[in-house]
Structure formats: C-alpha cells, structure tokens
Symmetry: C6
Subunit: 235 residues, 6 copies
C-alpha cells in the first residue's frame, strides 16, 4: 500500500510510512488538541511533495490558516499563489448567508457531497476542517449514509483525504463517523496518571491495512507544530 | 450439532468445533476490532470447504474486501470467479441512490428481508457486514420484529449466517440484536489491567447448544489475520 | 402455600419448595443467561407431575425448544404428543405477518391478554418466553396496566405462570414488571470478585409468602441444565 | 404532636412515638422491600386502636392482602367484617375496565382526588398502595399539583394517611412526591459494606415536627413482619 | 453593603453579617434539609427587626407554618396579628382550583411576576417557599427570562428576598436559578467521610459582594432550629 | 501577535502577555466563580489603556456592575462619563418586555448579531456577559452557525472580545462554543485533592497562537479581585 506522509515523522513511523494513499482518514479532538495544526502539517508536506491540494475550512478564514501555519514554520502561501493549494472560503459563505438574513441557509452535508463532485479532477489531497459543522441538525441515518457515500466517492476518485471533526459533534453522532473512514485518530486531553498533570494524547483505534499499536501516545503542541513523545515516555 | 469452522482454529476450539450450522451468529465491535477480518476468515474457510457463499457488504466495495483478504493471505478472488462466492454491491447501491438525488432512498431492513427471500436456494453461508446500516432510524420494535423474522427465515432455510454489527448501532438499539440470534460474539478494545495497555478482547456471552466459557479472550490482529492468545495469557 | 417445583432441586430449597402455586413469577436475564433453559426445566417437571401446560414462545419455534430440551435431557416431545403440553407458534405468526407485507402486524400485549382468556380451562401452567416482545413500543402506563391485569387474571384462574423477560426490555420498561408479579428472579453475568472471572449469578429480590435469602447465587449452565453452586461457594 | 403507632415498636421509637396524626407519610421501595407489609402492620395496629380505616389497593386484591396479613400474624378479617376496615377493589376495577375493551380506562390521579372527597367522614386512617399506578403517563407538573392537593385535602380532614409508592415510579417522577408529604421513608436493598451481603435498609430523610436520626437502619422481613435490627448492628 | 440577619448567628458570621439587603438569595435543598425552617428563622428575625414581611407559601398552609415556627420557638403569630407579616394562601388557591375541576389552573411563574408588582410598597422582605412549583412544565428559556426579571424587579424595589427551591426542581432546571440571584445556598444530606454517617451540610457557592468560604458546613436541625457546627468539626 | 492585558498580571504571564488582540475569547464558569469579575478587571484595564469599550450585560444592570467594580477597586464610572465605556442595558430591555406582557419577546442570538453590526466603528473591546441568555431555546446548529458568524464578524472588525458564558448554558450546548472562539478559559469550583477543601480553579484548554500550559490553576476571589496562586501551590 502506498503511503502519504502525515507531515510528522514520528506519526509516520507508527503508520508504516504515513496515511494510506487514496483513502480517507478521520481525526477528532476537543478544543485545543491541535486538530487544525495536524491538518496544516499534512497539507504543507503534501504540497511539498507536489500533490495538488484543497482545503475546505468551515471555521476559519484562509488568511488565518496561513498565518497559523507561518507561525509554526509551515508557509502555505507560495502553494496558494501557484494554485497548487486551493482554499475554499466556507466560513465566509456561512457568515454572509446569515448576514443577509437567510437564517436557514446553513451549509448541509449535501453541499459537501456536491463539493466532492465538483473538485477538479487533478486534486490529490483534500482536507476538510471540520465535518462537525455538517453533522449537527440532521438525523443520524442521513449523516451515516452521506458520510459513507462521501468516503466512497473520494476513495473511488483515489483522493487522499483528511477529515477533521470536533469531539462534540463526534460524540453527538455517537462516534459513528469512525465506521465510514479507512482510519481514525483521536486527540484528547487527559490527566497523565504518572505525572498527575493534564497532557495531550493521541489514540489510533483503526487504520486499515496498517499494523498499528493501540498504545496511547503522548504529544505536545510546540512552536514547530505537533511533536510526539518517544514511546518510553508513553504508557 | 454440526459445526462450521469459524476459519480460526483457536476460536473453533472454544466453540466445540465452530459456529452451529444452519444458525445465525452476531458479531459486534467498535472501529478497528477486526469485524470485517472475522468475516473474511469465515468466508474464506467456508469457500474452501465447498460451501456456496454470499456476502452483503454495506460499507465497503467488493474490490476492497478482496484486497483486504489477499493482504492477510485469504484470497477470495478464485471463489468469486467460479461463482462459489457472490458479492452483493450494497455500498454502491447506497451511494448511487444518493448521488442521483434520491435523498431518502437509504436501504431499509425490509430490503434485507427481501434479500433473504431472493438469495438462491443453494446458498449455504451468508455474511452481512454490517447490520448497523439497517438499524438506525427505525423504531426499536420494528427492528426487533424484523431481525427476529430474518433470523427465523435464515435458520428455517438452514443457512449459516454471520451478521456483523458495529458497536454504535448495537448500543443505540440497546443490544437487542443479541436476543434474536443463536449466538453472539463481542469484540472490544480495553485496557488490560495486568499490562496497563490497550488491547483487543473477545467475549462470547451466548452460543446456544454449545458449552462456552465466559472468559474474556485476548486476541490480536496480525498480518495473517485474527490470532487468539492462549488461555494462560488471558485473565 | 402450595408449591410447584421449579424443576431445579437447589432452587426449590431456596424457595421453600418451589414457585408459589397459582401465582405469577418473572424471570429476567441478559443473552446467554439460560432464561429459556429455566423455562424448559420448569415445564418438563410440571409435565412430569401431570400438570397441563402451555408454552407461548415468541422468539423460537417449538421444534427448536424441543431439540434444546432433549440435548439437556428434558424430553418434552411425549407430552406434546399426548396434548399435555401445548406449544403456541408465536414466532411463526410474527414472521408470517411480516412476510406477507403486513409491516405493522406485530403482536401486542393485548393479544397476550386475549390469550389469557382463550387458554383452555384445564391448563395449570403457562410459560411465556418472552414478555419483552410485548413491551417495546407501547407506553409505560399501558404496559403496567396490562401486565397488572394479566397477572391478576392468571392468578384469579389459579394458573401458575412463569414469565420470561429479556433484560433489555426489562431495563427499557424501568424494571416495572417486577411490581406486577408475585415473585421475580434476576439472572445476570458479572465478574466474580473472588475469582476475577465472568460468572453467572441469580438474584431473587422478591417472592411473596416465601422466606428468601438476598444472597446472590452462583450458577452454571451444564449439559444437564442449570446447576446452582452450593452456598459456601457463593458470597 | 399526637402520634399514631406505625405498628412497629422499633420504628415508633425512632419516630418519637409513631406517625404524626392527621398527616400524610410516604413510603417508597423497590420490589421485595416489604412496602405492603409495612402497610398491613400499620393498618392492623390502627384497627386495633379503634381507628376507622380504608385501604385502596391498586395491585392486589383484598383477599390476597388479608391472606398476606394472616400469614404474618396480622388478621385483618375481623375488622373487615365489622366494617371498621374498608377495602377498595381498585385492581379489579382496572382489570375489568381493560377486559371489557376500554383500553384507555386506566385510573387517573383525578380519581384519587375524587376518592379523597367521597371517603366517609369518620374515616381516620387511609392507606394507598400504591401511588405509582397514578403517576405514570401524566406530566410532572400535574402530578405535583394533584399530589400537593391530595395531601392538603387529607391533612385538612385530619386523616392520617400512608402512601406507598414503588421506587420505579418514584424515580420516574424525580422523587418529587417527597416534597408533598409530611414525612417520607425509603426502603432499599443494598450491599452491607461490613458483611458484603445484600441486606434491607430503611432511611428516613424527612419527618416534620419529629427529631429523626439520619442513620440508615438495617431491617429484615421475618415471619412476624418487619423487624428493625438494634442500632449497634447498624452503621 | 447593608446586611439583614439570616436569623442564624453562625450563618451571619459566614456572610459578613447576613444576607445583602435589597437583594435576592436562593436556598435549595432536598426533602428534610430544613429549607422551610431556614425561611421561618429569617422571617422571625426580620419581623423582630421591624421589617414589613410577606411569605408566599405554595406547599403549606399558613397555620402549619405558624405551628412549625412555634414548635421551634419562633412565634410568628403576633406579627400576623399586627399585619407586620402577611401570609399569602397559595396552597389553598392551588387546591381550590383543582377541587373545582379547573384541572389546568395551576399557578404559573407569570402569577409570581404579577405578585411582585402588587405587593404593597412598604414591604421590605419577601419569602417565597417554593419556587419549584413555578418551574416545572415551562421551558427553560422562559423560566430563566422570568426569574431574571423577578430578581431584577425585586432588587429594583429594594426588597430583600429569600427564594426557597426544592432540589428536584432545581436539578430539572439545570441549576439555572443560581445565575439569576445575588447569592445561593445549597442544603444537602450526604455521608460524612469521617463519621461514615449521613449528615446535613450547607454549601454557599455564591454571595456577591461578600467574602465567602467555600467550605462545606455541617449543620443540624435541632429543637431550636438550624444549628451550624463550629468550623473545626467541619472538613 | 499583539496582546491586550487581561487585567490580571499573573494570567497575562500564562498567556504570553494577555488576550490575543482582535480575537474572541470565551470564559465559562459556574455560579460564584467570578466570571463577571474577570470581565470587570479586563474592562477596567482596557479603559485605562485607552481602548474604546462596550459591555453588554444581560443579567445585571450597569449600576450594579459599577458598584461591583468599585468595591474591588476598579472604578469604571469615569470611563462611562467620558463615553469611553458604553454600557448596554440589556437586562432592563428583557425585563421591560416581559413587564409589558410581551411574554415571548426574549432576546435572541440574532439580536446579538445585529448588535455586532451596529456597534460604533471605533470600539476596540467588547464584553458580553453572558452568552448563555442567547443559547437556550434555539437549536444547536443555529447556535453554532450564529456564534461562528459572530466570532467571524468581530474578528474581521479587529475587535477584541471577551464572551462570558454560564456553565449551565455551556453544558446544555455541549461545550460547542469553545470551537467557535480563538481561546477559552474554564472556571470551576472543585475539591482540591491535597487540601480536601473546595477551591476555585482555572483551566485554559485552548488559546490559539499562544504556548499555554494545561496545568489547572488555583485562584481566589479576593477583595482586590481575582488572584492566581503561584504555580508551586498548584498541582
């Protein structure tokens, strides 16, 4: 199986080289667990490897994401300028709709499926940050059917995709998204029983075609992005 | 009682030879517990024993299941070519329906009952992966009535069936599916109290006509499929 | 108070001789706790004592119950042949209704009350396996009113009845059925704190007119049916 | 404050002589905690003291209550014969209504309020067993308003009343009934932390105008009715 | 900030002199925690200090409150006779409405707001026992808007008010009432970890403009009313 | 990144200088955790630094907030007089609407979005106390869409905003507000495991562009406002 680097060497080692190419991986986490940074690192690396990329950002404007990346040493701007990276202005769409008084013109997961169909044929990598926006307010059966379909279409088109989902929406949908994707990574903040302090942990319950460890991995958000602690420091 | 091997020698030993022939067994689990691999091993073995088999895959395309099997050393392709194994393209049906704009053409459990009736008379073994798709969005009474009926029809037709169900759907239906089937196997990931690490466990609460142990069995997903750890290593 | 043996000597000792004659006892349990076996043992014994019996089986066909009994050494077939034991084909009724497309022709608890009225006058013992089928999808007040009525009618007619109910339905109805019956037995699987292993336990919270112990009783499902462990082995 | 013996000397000691006369006391408990026996003992004692009594039994027929009492040494029959004790056939009313096909003719709490008004003026003591029947299926506000009213009316008429309520209905109504009554006694079965065994306990969170201990009191159901264990044996 | 004694010297010490004058304090508790006694003590003291007072009692008739107070040594009767204390017969209003067949004429929180407006201008102190009656059966947003308004109006009119609320209604409204009031006192019964016995505790999470301790305070209901245990005896 | 002091030196040190300028920070807490005091301190400091400020107070009248601040040594009055600080009378609007009988004229989150648009262009700092008022009674999807939009508009206009939200509303909306804001601070009261006493703690799960510690910080509400305990005293 071909792999695409996650943009994080330590994580790649735990994934037999990176994310499975042409498949869909879900990453979930609470506020402050660095979900967006994971996305930026993956995106930056994919751009560097010459992949054509798209990011659909539902909670942040592209300018902020670029600033966020620059501060961590991942400058996405050159890729945007050469059109290797396309940023879809989803938050602005949502805000403008509301501002104009269309109180019910919230984006639906259908829009997401449509997006999957209109994305240019040569796009290799898709980042969606965050799926949670699409999951609230529709019934669970619809959400599952549509997410299964989205994952099916994307995988069929051989796009490697990283779907970010906030933990609240993930819990409200009973963690059902994890069944639709090829792999899933959970980010969490919890007390380290050895140090008695709150720390960040990553857990990978599922990555098809990949020999994964079920160990809970301690990580930190540093000024150069996500850093995994070596295995010994982990439980 | 005649037995049909589960495709896993160690599990067979714990089931007095395998799954009860002509009966319906439920297997449930969270993402990454290897539910589909259990299905592939059982299917591969049944094909090898000359049984006529059908797999209804609601979350994966047949090609992926075949790839998945090959990677683990269970090549299903020859059986497909000789029509000994039929793969029903359920995921594609679901996706196409949605793509064409039929937003409510999700598959219902009724379709499943119909399937049970149209499957060819000479089919011995049926794998359904996964029942969860059919259980969300209908009321509990209907789900139970229809699953009881499905299990009754399949058993009446002397088909040995393995029904895979994701843990989320299983919990949402209050684990009620376990009353409808002849036996049930639960797969789970939890902390091993002796090692302090996350590990995979299997628990068999029910297998009619079979002397089973209630011990929780430690297992792993290896490159040759599911391996049960010997009893001593278990609690 | 006259007693009717439960078909299990050890249980009888704990019930001052057996179930109170002419009264209604509830038995609840999760999948694999042997609820149906309890019913078969009681039924077999009642038939042997010359009682006229009826079993209403909602989840299994009569043939399977007979096979199940034979495997454990309780052959019900001769009693069926002499009409001492009547088996009501409830599962088939449910399945046929569904198969013919009557999607809403599920059995209701009203049917149960009607049954109570049409059962032949000379029937002494009634087994219902399982009440859960009747409790889902109706509101709690109705369920309680109708179960109170059923228990009242059966007790009025001096029938000894054993009502089996699955734990899921029992929990969903907030264990309310226990107030309507004369006695109640709960079967469960849980970790034995002394052995650290999953084991089966029986708990009798209520048996009117009977001096009962509140001890939790360890039992096993053996090849000769249910066996209670002696009191010392219990906590 | 005048007291009316609870029919149990040990309990009376803990209540400064018994239940407050002319007031309403609630007693709640799970199946098998002896709620009805508490009622019988209180009733028997009140009859002996020459009080005119009424019992409204919603789950048992009067004959059974009399049998139940006799077995414990509290023979209510003579009081019934002299009309000192009136037994209202509520269960039969409920059952007959259902049997005649009036599927919605369940008793409502309104009927209870009407009862309070039509009970003969010279009745001193009222036992209602059990209030749970009236609380399910109406909204919480109505239940509270009506129970407040019932308690108000009964107290206004200087009747001493004991209201039995099953724990399920009590929990489903969020224990709200405890605010409407003058006092409340909770019966429960739980593990005794010292013996490791399931035992019965009584807890009195509230008894207005009475200096009560908040100690949890161990009791047993013996062949002579409820017996409280001496304080030392309690925690 | 001017203070008005709570009627309990020990509590006053913990509140820098008493309740903040002209503000609204909430007191919540389970059955038997002495909520009404707290109200009586506060009322008695306020009357003694010459304040003009009103009590709105929704669960008890004024006569009972007076008896209750007398038994504890707080005789409110003289103040009623001189019209310094007005008792509003709310329970009787509720009961009469129901008795006359107006099944839906329950009091609403709107009535409460109206009351706030019609109370005589010279009233200094208002006790409402209990707010719970007004909170069930309306939606949370309404409850919050109206309680905010009530607290605003009362504070605007410089009335010192004590609002009693039962713990059940408080939990059902998600403890939201605590945000609307100036201060809040929670009464509870729980196991004292040092003595292993059930005891009564008071906790003051909030009292604006007051330096409060977050210590949980042990108290008892004695024959002279509420007594706080000295700080050392507390945890 | 430019920082704006939180008005608390110790907190500023933990935030690399203060709140990120031009961004939106959420602060949540239970009653009595000092949410409003946090707001007052921040507001007072921003006024001192010459920022033009607006406070939207939904639960308290401006006069009380000024009194509250004065008592703690943060006199906001001079800034109000010079129009550097504008106080929007939201509570009075709510109360008047209700008083006039417009029972459904509660403020909606739409009003909040409108406010964002009509606030004068030269306003630098906005405090909203509290968002909870706007979150109850609308569905979760709407709340999220509108809060995302509000945060987007405010950030777009380069306003630094502090949004106070009560813990009850925060929990009822599944903590979803934390995903919409740039940073979030949680205030809580809990038992300190080392002292066994209830104490106040602050936790900062998220502050974009800021290296934060996940340590739980012990703090107190003193007569000079919020004081953080030095790190050693913290766990």
């Amino acid at each position: 199986m071909t792999r695409l680097s996650s943009g994080n060497i330590d994580l790649d080692k735990r994934l037999q080289g990176g994310f499975p190419e042409g498949e869909c991986v879900l990453i979930t986490g609470e506020p402050g667990t660095g979900k967006t940074i994971f996305g930026i690192q993956f995106l930056y690396n994919a751009c560097q490897e010459g992949k054509k990329c798209v990011i659909i950002a539902t909670e942040e404007v592209p300018e902020k994401i670029i600033l966020h990346g620059k501060a961590l040493g991942f400058d996405l701007e050159p890729f945007v300028e050469t059109n290797q990276l396309t940023m879809i202005h989803f938050l602005e769409l949502r805000a403008n709709n509301l501002a104009e008084g269309y109180t019910n013109v919230c984006m639906h997961i259908d829009d997401l499926n449509n997006l999957a169909h209109i994305i240019q044929d040569d796009v290799d990598v898709i980042i969606l940050d965050n799926l949670g926006t699409f999951s609230i307010g529709i019934d669970l059966k619809q959400f599952r059917d549509k997410l299964d379909t989205l994952a099916y279409v994307l995988s069929n088109q051989k796009r490697t995709s990283l779907i970010v989902m906030d933990a609240t929406a993930h819990e409200l949908t009973h963690r059902i998204a994890e069944y639709s994707t090829y792999g899933t990574i959970r980010l969490m903040t919890k007390e380290n029983p050895y140090t008695g302090k709150m720390e960040r942990f990553m857990y990978i319950p599922k990555m098809r075609g990949t020999k994964i460890s079920l160990d809970i991995i301690n990580y930190d958000i540093t000024e150069e992005g996500i850093k995994l602690f070596p295995a010994k420091a982990n439980r």
